[in-house]
């Protein structure tokens, strides 16, 4: 057979010719053409780019950006605090605590966050005054400012999601770690704080980072309850000058900037919590 003959022939010095990836060139060209078309469309469309540049740094936009970042940070802080607490409650042996935590998650995951924001903002319709009976009493409309309503709405809603992430993280830690912590005399909460949570962080941080980035954009919902974040500021300007698309682009640019910075931070934080997990380059720490 001819196959036998091929084996006998010495072809070890022949030149190797790689496959031609024709499909790659074609799909690359199609995508480049589409991108060029989109860019052209926007360049020639009814957008005054000079306005975008001018409004990018006006005072109310920058103040709105500040409020967006502040609300993101505070709502996330509240969300993570609630999330950790509720996750630990979910793992409690006490059925009442356990049930209360499950009910919280069920309710706040079960309703839209926009609806929750509106409920907090309109709390005065349910409770005209707030306070401790006999000590302080304040009208709800004064207490429940757009800021507080946004913080409670976004933070408490976030806590429900975060608690599930934290619970998954806690469950991912080997049972032997609880036992080792107990064996050196640690009570449950100390073992959680010193041994279990730091290891759970490796599993918890990536989805929390993801949710933090989600929160940056979720704060835009607070514009409907007049919290002056960046979308609200942009809207107020275009109500006056009708430059709707330009101002939405301004807001969009700032969101992209914030998210890009956070993404870079996320990578660094993940590296820190992955120490000792075999995915880090810092397997040994120097100086010890």
């Amino acid at each position: 057979m001819s196959g036998r003959d091929d084996l006998a022939e010495d072809i070890s010095q022949f030149e190797h010719v790689r496959r031609k990836h024709v499909g790659r060139y074609v799909s690359g060209a199609v995508i480049a053409a589409l991108a060029a078309w989109v860019v052209m469309a926007f360049a020639h469309g009814g957008i005054e780019w000079a306005f975008v540049g001018r409004y990018l740094t006006v005072h109310s936009i920058v103040a709105g950006l500040g409020n967006t970042v502040l609300m993101t940070a505070l709502a996330m802080l509240l969300g993570v605090s609630i999330g950790v607490t509720v996750a630990i409650m979910r793992l409690s042996a006490n059925p009442v605590i356990n049930w209360a935590a499950a009910a919280y998650v069920w309710f706040f995951r079960g309703t839209p966050v926009l609806l929750q924001l509106l409920l907090w903002f309109n709390l005065a319709l349910v409770f005209p005054t707030l306070g401790i009976p006999g000590l302080v009493e304040l009208p709800t409309v004064e207490v429940m400012t757009p800021f507080l309503a946004a913080l409670l709405g976004l933070g408490i809603n976030q806590g429900a999601y975060t608690s599930e992430v934290v619970r998954a993280g806690l469950l991912s830690v080997d049972k032997g770690q609880y036992e080792a912590a107990k064996a050196i005399g640690m009570p449950r909460l100390q073992a959680l704080r010193r041994i279990i949570l730091p290891q759970a962080m490796r599993v918890i941080v990536p989805p929390i980072g993801n949710e933090l980035i989600g929160m940056v954009k979720l704060t835009s919902l607070a514009s409907v309850i007049q919290f002056p974040e960046i979308v609200y500021s942009a809207e107020n300007i275009y109500y006056a000058n009708n430059r709707v698309i330009e101002l939405l682009i301004v807001a969009g640019i700032w969101y992209v900037v914030v998210v890009t910075v956070l993404s870079a931070l996320q990578a660094r934080i993940e590296r820190y919590f992955a120490r000792g997990a075999g995915v880090s380059d810092a397997i040994t720490r120097t100086g010890n």
Binding site: M186, I195, R275, G276, I283, T284, R285
Partner: protein, 254 residues
């Protein structure tokens, strides 16, 4: 002197399965006791009852002069709080089959975690003691290494140092060499042999009959939740009186 461990009619069940069906046993200070037996015999469960990783269902257990898990008031036994149980655990050091080192901490930080966080020892002092302990188990050069960078034998030696750092009155070993590659068993047994020479009270659940013969003062053979035979290593491993012990030893040695 009182025995360091005294167990009277100790029982433990997991649902319908009776892991311990009444263990009566006394262990003296300075004794090295090896517990052997087939898997499922209850030997690890007994060890885990001693430091309360398992709660007992019946009988009574005293460790280092204290009734384990309960406070006696009149004719009733009241369950202790979690904090008091944590305090009682300080009498014992535990070495696990799968090491269970804290992976996010270096060898040194694993050893000082208990002294600093639980005993509230000053960090500098704890580090000094930890360096000595790590030297004792032959790992002076691995202080800054994370567990993942250590072999199984090295991890288990760090685990022994971590347990010793709490200055326990009694050391518990739960199959300390069962998860090791064969060539790494020797280094761990050698550290345990040295520890036995210092007079430390040790209870070792093991399949290493050679180690038991050489180091133990007493060997206990358990099967189906009961102590079948107990005595000197020569007696239990050399001239067992019970058929079950004989069968087990010949099965392990073959």
């Amino acid at each position: 002197m009182n025995p360091i461990v005294k167990s009277v009619g100790l029982r433990k069940s997991y649902g319908a399965f009776e892991a311990l069906k009444g263990i009566d046993l006394e262990i003296e200070r300075g004794e090295v006791l090896c517990i052997v037996g087939p898997s499922g015999s209850g030997k690890s469960t007994f060890l885990r009852c001693i430091n309360q990783l398992e709660a007992v269902d019946g009988g009574a257990l005293w460790v280092n002069g204290e009734l384990v898990g309960y406070r006696r008031t009149g004719h009733k036994l009241f369950e202790l709080s979690e904090r008091e149980i944590a305090r009682q655990r300080l009498a014992t050091g535990m070495v696990f089959q799968r090491f269970n080192l804290f992976p996010h901490k270096t060898a040194l930080d694993n050893v000082i975690e208990g002294p600093v966080q639980v005993l509230k020892l000053e960090r500098k002092k704890a580090e000094l003691e930890a360096h000595e302990l790590l030297a004792r188990v032959g790992l002076s050069d691995k202080c800054g290494a994370y567990p993942i960078a250590l072999s199984g034998g090295q991890q288990q030696r760090v685990a022994i140092a971590r347990a010793l750092a709490m200055k326990p009155a009694l050391m518990l070993f739960d199959e300390p060499t069962s998860a090791l590659d064969p060539e790494l068993v020797g280094e761990v047994l050698s550290v345990m042999r040295d520890l036995a020479r210092t007079g430390m009270t040790m209870i070792v659940v093991t399949h290493e009959l050679g180690f038991a013969r050489e180091v133990a003062n007493r060997v206990l053979f358990m099967d189906q939740g009961l102590v079948v035979e107990s005595g000197s290593p020569e007696q239990v491993l050399g001239r067992p009186t019970q058929a079950r012990t004989r069968d087990f030893i010949s099965a392990v040695l073959s």
